[in-house]
């Protein structure tokens, strides 16, 4: 190119006033009329004529020309005197015709009859997230993404089109119907399961005021979002049936970036930012706290004293220095965390071979004191090669990452901010823990123990993920291709959790102990396929036949060691006198045959047929195999001449219908065999066997029948594209961990239940280019999902263990409890409505199969949810604002506060509890504070089962705000830089909500809500 410029330059006579002429073509060599040609930094501009020719006068010797057009990618060109320029602009691909990755192939939105949404790398990159799942939030109709916490590396729950399966675990915790995750054709070995075995800040669970049942370490944190080209979400039967037994809960396909034909290009991206906690409910200061405590004693008719363990014992009022004030929330959760991210990629190639090599580093620190961080380093490679005759192609891609997350192994640290505000110092100047103050033990407060001890509890998890995928294609005959996809994925976790002796109260028999865990999940898959594609004059069709063999091994070990003589040895197993070890082996095998026929007539009528026969090792003899399939049809009605001629504004119209059966084998392995395991302890020298499960030899597939009708329309040359979908999924032959009462010896058994759960709803999305004038553009996209979940049949519900959990005709997330009736103005206690509508302080719990005073309090399903994205661009500036919203009912802060302990006892409270009942006749919503296990305590216990702990948890959140500026090309020329972009990204900048609590999304008062962050970044393309 440079030589060309030089050569042109030599031909041009040099004089003061010159004329630029040229012609603009598209990549098909057709002339482009109406292209704007602008001399940068001036107002000199023109447009091309019908033949694509333009002409400009200029008084300088050099200039930068900018070519822009609605249909083409913009181009900048450095001009230094050449004439008769030949410019080729690349035509923009209509978004309807962009390639979408689907099961075993690709398609376009235009011709797809299934429900498929693609999120491209541009959308992911702008959000600056560490976990790729997070980038999907609010972007895809029918997809609910919920972070479990703001802790770096913590897991994110994913659900496509609602809950299909009955609860297995305790009343309010549903087993998540995770979709199937596939990366470059290889099922991701850990899927979206938590990869930790041990507890940490990311996994507090639900005991003691915590409300985080799904918390854990996310395996997706091991995938660098910068390596992802696109994420496709498949939802309906047409798109998922070919995954058979694993497609019932939807499928998410992740495709990594590939090299492109052209000059070798290097991209560098560096980002640095800060992260902190947003507004949370303020806690009482010392003065407010002491007032509340005195009020509590007054309510109880007691005088605080200093007699240890007396009911009126109150060291916080009488022994501690009551002029002291520590804002514990600031101390524990108020630090600023940092994010550092750097990625580099080099890619390029020629006609036959393309490559891309990428690497990335990311580090997120915690908002807690202490050296806690989640760090990741990743590598990726991809290679495409085709033979000279194009008959043979090879695609190879692989990713490797190492992620280390170290924090505290004590989730109690999350609740440490509820320590009394006048609590004495807990650490001496050398950092040693202090366990008593003037003879008062400092380990019995609301936080349970000296919370600085929790900072010394060690925890780390190191995850190594290796994914390799190889696709071989050989064209046997014209139209007939033999293809084999081979994949291997191994995910190794190494986990460590330790409690050093110096983190324990010397009074409590301290034993230094450590746990060493490993988990290795390895999967390989082989999928040979034959595909035949043919065309006739009016139609085109393809036939695909293939098979799958997959094996997955999950091996875990857990070595627990204790009794270290010195804390310095705690990192080693051999330093401990006592150790015991556990291991576990799971093997999962899966085999299938599948086929697909796609037929397209006149580019107007499309029929799709999918079929699959699946075998899974999770089922016993003669139950292994199941059949699945779907039929889909589409009609591009805008192609009909009667519409084409009469409705000119309609540029695209498609009506599609699909119906099919998919399934689920999502239960643990070996549930059909009665198993005994050897014990790890011995009795008087003899080892034992213990039963491991209640078994069920009749287990078989859960089946989901999916029906969907969709309408897509494009207006004004597809500037506005609308998509509307109605879906109805019915899951029967429910495969559940059927809850059992403890008297059976186990908490559950896996069973197929004859219950049918229905998810139906509307998904609407609208994409529009609202303004496109000259250099300014405004694009918007909006999506909303209105789901409805319903239990439509359950024979024998009344006598089953679900009798008091579910109501026929209601959602699976139905909440049953007492209807809250405010505080009794006379006694100051919480009251409820009983079944007959009377107000009572002592309502009756369900018993003997009857709900008694429990009533339906609604459900926690989202009523609607979605996202709203706006992008504005002007010259080199681009501003993106992504909003997400959700309407829902959720647990409020009172649930956490009242399940943790009784307000009025020795722990700090949110300021909001100042409005508690104080004098007879007073009307309040918060009962009297109390220090005793008496009437107020019982009332509070009932309260946690009432409508009083539920409130609206709807929100609108500005999830991403990103401003970027691309430095104009003319400043970069001398630097050998192709492009340079500076950007500022903010996450979770504001949330509009009426939620009573810290965060409507995570709903955990004693937890870390999703954090705010701001970062500044630089992207350079060489």
């Amino acid at each position: 190119m440079k030589i060309l410029y030089l050569w042109c330059f030599l031909l041009i006579p040099v004089f003061g006033f010159s004329q630029i002429t040229g012609i603009v073509h598209d990549n098909q060599n057709a002339p482009l009329p109406g292209v704007t040609v602008l001399i940068e930094g001036t107002s000199i501009a023109t447009t091309t004529n019908e033949k694509g020719v333009f002409q400009l006068k200029i008084d300088t010797r050099t200039a930068t020309l900018k070519f822009t057009s609605a249909d083409c990618e913009p181009l900048e060109l450095y001009w230094s005197g050449q004439t008769n320029l030949k410019i080729t602009l690349k035509r923009k691909i209509n978004s309807l015709d962009e390639v979408q990755v689907i099961a075993y192939g690709t398609n376009t939105q235009r011709y797809n009859v299934g429900s498929v949404t693609k999120i491209s790398s541009a959308d992911i990159d702008k959000q600056g997230v560490t976990n790729p799942l997070s980038a999907l939030e609010g972007m895809v109709p029918g997809l609910v993404i919920t972070p479990t916490s703001g802790i770096p590396g913590s897991s994110i729950t994913v659900q496509v089109r609602g809950q299909n399966t009955l609860n297995s675990a305790q009343a309010q915790i549903a087993p998540l119907d995770n979709p199937l995750f596939v990366i470059d054709g290889v099922p991701f070995a850990p899927q979206n399961g938590n990869v930790n075995q041990f507890k940490s800040l990311a996994s507090p669970g639900t005991i003691g005021g915590f409300n985080n049942p799904y918390g854990g370490i996310s395996p997706f944190n091991s995938i660098d979002p910068a390596d992802i080209e696109s994420i496709t979400v498949l939802r309906d039967a047409d798109a998922t049936a070919i995954y058979g037994s694993r497609g019932g809960n939807g499928v998410i396909l992740i495709t990594t970036k590939k090299g492109k034909i052209g000059q070798t290009e290097t991209t560098l991206n560096v980002r640095n930012g800060i992260t902190f906690i947003g507004p949370t409910m303020p806690m009482m200061n010392t003065q407010e706290y002491l007032t509340a405590r005195h009020q509590a004693f007054t309510n109880d008719g007691l005088t605080p004293n200093t007699t240890l363990y007396d009911p009126a014992y109150a060291p916080d009022l009488l022994v501690f220095d009551t002029t002291r004030y520590t804002n514990w929330k600031k101390a524990f959760l108020g630090n600023t965390a940092h994010n550092t991210n750097a990625t580099a990629a080099i890619s390029g190639g020629n006609e036959n071979t393309q490559f891309r090599i990428g690497t990335g580093f990311n580090r997120d620190t915690y908002i807690f004191p202490g050296d806690f961080a989640d760090s990741r380093i990743s590598f990726s490679t991809s290679l495409h090669h085709s033979s000279q005759d194009k008959k043979f192609t090879l695609d190879f891609s692989s990713q490797y990452s190492y992620d280390k997350n170290n924090s505290s192994g004590s989730p109690s640290l999350l609740a440490a901010f509820a320590l009394e505000p006048d609590y004495p110092s807990l650490q001496d100047s050398k950092g040693n823990l202090i366990w008593n103050y003037n003879g008062i033990p400092l380990d019995g407060s609301g936080a349970g123990s000296n919370p600085f001890a929790y900072l010394k509890d060690l925890y780390s998890i190191e995850n190594r993920n290796l994914n390799g995928s190889l696709a071989l294609n050989y064209q046997i005959l014209k139209g007939l291709v033999f293809r084999t996809n081979l994949g291997y994925n191994t995910f190794d976790s190494q986990e460590y959790s330790a409690v050093p002796a110096d983190a324990q109260n010397p009074a409590r028999n301290p034993i230094a102990s450590a746990k060493f865990g490993t988990e290795n999940i390895m999967t390989w898959i082989a999928e040979p396929q034959l595909e035949y594609k043919g065309t006739t004059s009016k139609s085109s069709y393809s036939i695909l036949v293939g098979g799958t063999l997959q094996k997955q091994n999950t091996n875990t070990t857990d070595v627990e060691a204790s009794g270290y003589i010195n804390d310095a040895l705690i990192g080693s197993i051999s330093g401990a006198p006592n150790t015991y070890a556990l291991d576990n082996f799971i093997e999962y095998r899966y085999a299938a045959l599948f086929g697909r026929i796609n037929y397209k007539l006149d580019d107007k009528y499309i029929v799709d047929i999918n079929a699959r026969r699946d075998g899974s090792s999770r089922f016993g003899p003669d139950k292994e195999f199941g059949n699945f399939g779907s039929v889909g049809a589409g009609w591009l009605f805008n192609e009909e001449s009667f519409l084409k001629d009469n409705l000119k504004f309609l540029s695209y119209g498609k009506l599609r219908v699909s119906y099919g059966v998919t399934g689920s084998d999502a239960i643990p392995d070996y549930q059909y065999i009665p198993r005994y395991a050897p014990t790890y302890y011995a009795y008087q020298g003899g080892l034992g066997y213990q039963p491991q499960n209640l078994y069920n030899p009749n287990l078989s597939w859960a089946t989901t029948k999916k029906l969907e009708i969709g309408l897509s329309m494009g207006f004004l040359h597809d500037r506005i594209i609308f998509d509307g979908t109605w879906f109805r999924d019915r899951t029967g032959n429910q495969l559940v961990g059927y809850q059992l009462p403890g008297q059976t010896g186990f908490s559950s058994v896996y069973e197929n239940m004859n219950a049918v759960v229905q998810n139906q709803g509307f998904e609407l999305s609208l994409n529009a280019t609202i303004v496109k004038s000259g250099e300014f553009a405004w694009k918007t996209s909006f999506n909303i999902t209105i789901p409805q979940n319903k239990l439509i049949s359950f024979p024998g519900l009344a006598t089953s263990s679900y009798a008091t959990t579910y109501i026929l005709g209601q959602s699976l997330s139905v909440v049953k409890g007492f209807k809250y009736a405010g505080v009794d103005p006379q006694t100051g206690l919480f009251q409820y409505y009983n079944a007959t509508g009377q107000i009572t302080e002592n309502p009756n719990f369900p018993s003997n199969g009857s709900l008694n005073d429990f009533v339906n309090l609604g459900n926690t399903d989202p009523k609607f949810y979605g996202g709203f994205q706006n992008s504005f661009s002007y010259k080199g500036f681009q501003l993106d604002a992504y909003l997400t919203f959700k309407k829902q009912l959720g647990l409020n802060y009172l649930y956490s506060v009242y399940t943790a302990s009784l307000p009025g006892m020795e722990f700090n409270l949110p300021v909001a509890l100042q409005n508690s009942w104080q004098t007879p006749g007073q009307h309040t919503q918060i009962e009297k504070l109390s220090t005793q296990y008496a009437d107020a305590y019982n009332a509070a216990s009932n309260f946690t089962y009432s409508s009083g702990v539920y409130s609206d948890a709807s929100y609108v959140r500005l999830k991403t705000l990103s401003l970027s500026y691309a430095i104009p090309g003319r400043y970069l020329r001398g630097l050998n830089i192709k492009a340079l972009r500076i950007y500022l990204t903010g996450q979770n900048i504001f949330t509009i909500t009426d939620y009573k609590g810290n965060d409507p999304e995570t709903q955990n008062f004693y937890g870390v809500p999703v954090l705010k962050s701001f970062s500044l970044g630089l992207q350079i393309t060489l």
Binding site: L308, N578, P674, Y676, Y689, Q743, S801, N848, E906, Q932
Partner: protein, 456 residues
């Protein structure tokens, strides 16, 4: 034509690969586990399954039904213990304000029925085995029945009516409601009598359920169900067997070598002794113990009672005395623990017989038994004529001999209807319905046939 051929090829390829698929998805159990028919294929496997039951009884790292939980939790609900750490479930117990979701009550229930399932699975596995000899079947089943009886004995005394689970079929078990206490006792008595006939009358291992364990438990059950002459018969069988004698030094009673032990559980977690030793005894004398003996119990001992000196430890912190249960002296050990967790011991038999004789108005006989126990405690013999005085004396002796031991005090106070008179004064939150623990609400939710106890 060619297209047709391709289709034929594809279909036949598909069919051919299908047969191999079927084999591919059939897999053996994991390499660290066995299927149940393999376990019960011989008596070695079956006895390992029985070992599994004992291990289960002692394997929790923390209180469980069979390892300290009953002692600690009924000590709190009764007049024996209070705690110095802040644990809401324990505080609820101490204040007799147990909520229906109380974690301690749930823990007792769950761990008890887990053990019961393991026992039932052993009994069923042994019964269904075609390869184990009849005599081996009989002795192993008897051992299992004694363990199950012991679990049910404690369950009825904590919860009142309880579901009586004696099989392994979960489809049946999950729907069983609560059986009245007397029905459960009938089952216990029948099982123990069957066990007596299946076990050898010798004592070669007191860490396993043996003939005398069955007999001692039967004596206790007869006492609790007021079948006094039966209780005396069973007690006599033990007292006259010559296998047991009271340890002269109270400090030796809970040692592994104690001659007093009729039945005990051996600790299984390496380097940990009994859970009571581990969780009751503070690591040094300068710290406040987590569970403290109440003033009323501490003050009720006679001055020279050796049990007060030997079985209660006292730590002094800031000039204040903190007494704590000290029957088990060690929490952590290196090597084999020298203390076993004693389930039934000879002193109990003396006092069972004393109470039974007293109720049958045999005052002299009763005093003789009672004074054997007093003598060992370094106390003078009692002399009295009144039946009611005697019964009060026996109960007082039981309080001091069996404080913080398997819920004996809590059970005695309740079965003798003394709860109202004793606990009303001692516990400010006492109410008459607090004599039974609540059935965990979670269990009621999962089994519509379960009914809650009154007062919850």
């Amino acid at each position: 034509m060619m297209k047709k051929n391709i289709l034929v090829i594809l279909i036949s390829l598909a069919a051919a690969s299908f047969t191999s698929c079927k084999k591919f998805v059939q897999e053996p159990p994991p390499k660290n586990q066995l299927i149940s028919s393999t376990v019960f294929a011989d008596s070695v496997g079956a006895s390992a399954a029985l070992n599994g039951v004992y291990i289960n009884l002692m394997q929790n790292y923390g209180f469980s039904f069979s390892n300290g939980g009953i002692t600690a939790f009924t000590g709190l609900t009764g007049d024996e213990l209070y705690e110095s750490t802040f644990s809401p479930p324990d505080e609820e117990l101490y204040n007799n304000a147990i909520t229906i979701s109380n974690a301690d009550a749930q823990l007792l229930w769950t761990t008890a029925y887990q053990s019961i399932y393991l026992v039932n699975a052993c009994i069923a596995g042994i019964e269904n085995s075609t390869t184990i000899s009849a005599s081996a079947k009989k002795s192993m089943t008897s051992e299992a029945l004694v363990i199950r009886s012991f679990l049910y004995f404690n369950l009825v005394n904590i919860y009142g009516d309880v579901p009586l689970i004696i099989g392994t079929d979960y489809t049946v078990n999950e729907k069983i409601g609560r059986s009245p206490v007397n029905i459960v006792y009938q089952q216990i008595i029948a099982d123990l009598q069957a066990a007596q006939s299946g076990l050898l009358r010798s004592l070669n291992n007191n860490t396993r359920a043996n003939y005398y364990a069955a007999t001692a438990l039967l004596a206790k059950v007869f006492l609790y169900t007021k079948q006094y002459s039966n209780a005396i018969t069973q007690s006599d069988a033990i007292l006259t067997s010559g296998n047991f004698s009271l340890e002269p030094d109270p400090n030796s009673v809970f040692m592994a070598a104690s001659h007093e032990t009729i039945w005990c559980f051996a600790p299984v977690i390496p380097n940990l002794a009994t859970m009571e030793g581990y969780l009751f005894v503070p690591s040094s004398s300068g710290v406040i113990p987590p569970y403290l003996i109440t003033n009323s119990l501490y003050g009720s001992f006679e001055d020279r009672d050796l049990r007060k000196l030997d079985w209660i430890g006292v730590d002094t912190v800031s000039n204040q005395l903190y007494p704590f249960p000290f029957k088990y002296k060690t929490g952590r050990v290196s090597g084999m623990p020298n203390e076993n967790y004693v389930v039934l011991r000879l002193a109990d038999i003396y006092l069972i017989e004393a109470e039974a004789k007293g109720n049958m108005n045999n005052i002299t006989g009763a005093l003789a038994d009672l004074n054997v126990v007093r003598h060992r405690a370094g106390l003078q013999n009692l002399v009295m004529n009144s039946q009611s005085d005697l019964l009060t004396a026996v109960n007082s002796e039981r309080q001091h001999e069996f404080f913080c031991e398997w819920g004996n005090r809590w059970y005695d106070v309740n079965r003798l209807n003394l709860a109202q008179s004793i606990l009303e004064i001692e516990k400010h939150g006492w109410k008459s319905t607090a004599d039974l623990f609540p059935i965990p609400q979670n269990e009621i939710n999962l089994n519509p046939a379960l009914k809650q106890n009154p007062g919850y």
